[in-house]
């Protein structure tokens, strides 16, 4: 296996609010290798964005705090690293693209100004060199008239162009890891296709590892190598993109995939998971998904399931995959498969 870039080990990020402690990320372990694209999927409130912010040490503190676990970036634990060291890592070795290209650029500065700032913080080059490097970066991400756009302000660009600028900025220091938090959610499908195409090229050419956070399984199929499914602050399933989309094991992933309207098939009625996504709460016992799960049995409400290994690197947090459940596992295989 290629070398490990990022390893989250039982990461716990909790928020301390007036109404109590909220375990937004509740023991998440994820590995990202060099040149790999890993997707984190889940619905709103499952903790996928907080996971990515934790890696960058950007969780607003207070109320949020990493209360346990490790974030190993190339062998260095980022939890409790000094802010000075984090500043060196952020934007240089790990970059991040946010969902809203509209709000992540400063409206008062030109595109060039903001790109140059990012470049000059991490590289010792003069202003003129930084400018020409910024123009190069804009060309790489496919912005027409790059030498004119560099002197324009964010409001003069469209959403797709702004997201390209964000990618240019994120890639300008050749990071080893790019974290993209819903990079195409605010964009139209034709523009989304352009941006995904661009990210795939950057991944191919520069071998940058990408951690992609999304709720769109279509985007996952498009670009990811491996997928982690999250539910209520926990990883519930992990596997390759093909395994997850074609043969999901956990009842939640199964339901999620079945409830998507398909563009190439006709069906009378959509499958739907009953109930709604629960809010994370402290001291909850049992499987988080059990109240909505059609396969739930007594044990699901009494004990916390662990991530059971089905095959190599194929994990599912469901008692149905516990060897101890013997018969039930076989029945479930038959049932869930149907």
């Amino acid at each position: 296996m290629s070398d490990l870039v990022l390893e989250l080990n039982n990461l716990q990020t909790h928020f301390f609010t007036d109404s109590g402690e909220v375990p937004a990320v509740d023991g998440v372990s994820i590995k990202v290798h060099k040149g790999e694209v890993v997707g984190i999927v889940g619905e709103s409130g499952c903790g996928k964005s907080v996971t990515s912010l934790s890696v960058m040490q950007l969780v607003p503190t207070p109320p949020g705090k990493i209360v346990g676990g490790e974030i190993n970036f190339k062998g260095e634990n980022l939890v409790n690293t000094s802010e000075k060291r984090m500043k060196k890592i952020r934007g240089n070795e790990i970059s991040m693209i946010f969902q809203e290209p509209m709000t992540s650029l400063n409206p008062l500065f030109t595109i060039g100004n903001q790109l140059r700032e990012a470049i000059r913080i991490h590289q010792k080059i003069n202003k003129r060199e930084a400018r020409s490097k910024a123009i190069d970066m804009l060309r790489i991400v496919g912005i027409p008239r790059a030498d004119a756009v560099i002197d324009e302000y964010p409001h003069q660009l469209s959403g797709g162009m702004r997201q390209r600028v964000m990618i240019a900025m994120a890639m300008s220091c050749n990071p080893e890891l790019l974290i993209a938090d819903e990079p195409t959610t605010a964009l139209d499908v034709t523009i989304q296709a352009q941006i995904l195409d661009l990210m795939r090229n950057l991944n191919d050419e520069k071998d940058t590892a990408i951690l992609l956070i999304t709720h769109d399984l279509g985007v996952v199929a498009e670009i990811c190598d491996r997928v982690v499914v999250m539910y209520s602050g926990q990883v519930v399933e992990e596997g390759t993109t093909r395994e997850i989309l074609k043969d999901p094991k956990h009842p939640y992933s199964k339901g999620l995939i079945k409830s998507l309207p398909k563009i190439h098939e006709r069906e009378q009625k959509l499958y739907s998971i009953p109930g709604t996504v629960p809010k994370p709460k402290m001291g909850r016992v049992g499987c988080r998904f059990a109240p909505r799960c059609e396969f739930a049995f007594d044990r699901c409400f009494q004990e916390d399931p662990e991530l059971y290994s089905i095959e190599n690197d194929r994990l599912s947090r469901c008692f149905l995959y516990d060897q101890k459940e013997g018969d039930r596992t076989e029945n479930a295989e038959a049932n869930i498969g149907s």
Partner: protein, 325 residues
Amino acid sequence: MQKPILEVSGLKKYFEIKGGVFGKKVGEVKAVDGISFSVMEGEILGIVGESGCGKSTAGKSILRLIEPSAGEVKFENKDITNLSAEEMRKLRRNMQIIFQDPYASLNPRHTVEKIIGEPLQIHGMSSAKERKERVKELLEVVGLSAYHASRYPHQFSGGQRQRIGIARALANNPKLIICDEPVSALDVSVQSQILNLMEELRDEFNLTYVFIAHDLSVVKHISDRVGVMYLGRMVELTDKDKLYDDPKHPYTQALLSAVPLPDPDIAKDRIILKGDVPSPSNPPAGCAFHTRCPHAMDICSKVRPEFEEIEDNHFVACHLYGEVQ
């Protein structure tokens, strides 16, 4: 043949841009630039397009929530564009709308009972007791419980709020409901619940929907016919199967090929469009799509293509299929 419940012809909505010291008109945004279609009784017509293509403006102009600039809207064979405000108000009990944002479209200071009861009161149900009964009934129809009536919107999740929005639209037994992106703010697992609910309601109450959305898979799932809009114009309109299996307009083809599918086995020839959608305040001459079209010809930048029926029930606005090829 069913009879059309809604006929729209040449509908236009231009927004004025004012500027300068005296607030003079300096231009206009052609949000909807002459669209025509009809909706049959009991049908679900989907309208898709990217942001800024005018699909929401079209929906609101049909109900005259925004006053259209030109064109005709006929509801049950009656032209409604010239009705007085009072007549329009009476008519609106038959034409309702469901909005996109379930967080913004419900008044946070009113209880659910007041929210759903208000349209009942406006349209003549004066007895408070009757209203209370009807509200309970409606809540149960949309899958909530009667005891929810005394709660406030912030106590509900997004999916539940959208159910309240649907109950409010259903309150006066409308015939036509315009659904403006009703599921795009919802999570996948909740989205499918709402889509199923809307289909059940259609069958139960014989409703007609105009379903506006940007998600092509959702529109495919729920609609009978689908219209595609680009920059204020309708570029293609046909049965959903025909549209998805055999799209004619180059924009529809590109749009369909750009949808990422959650299936690693489908190999795709993706048509990646260059550039961005032009501004509707200064749309390109001729065919609005010619600046990004892979098949653009000379004529495309000069003459606006007519919206014509090239096959049975398959309307396309493109010179590739015109006589002047």
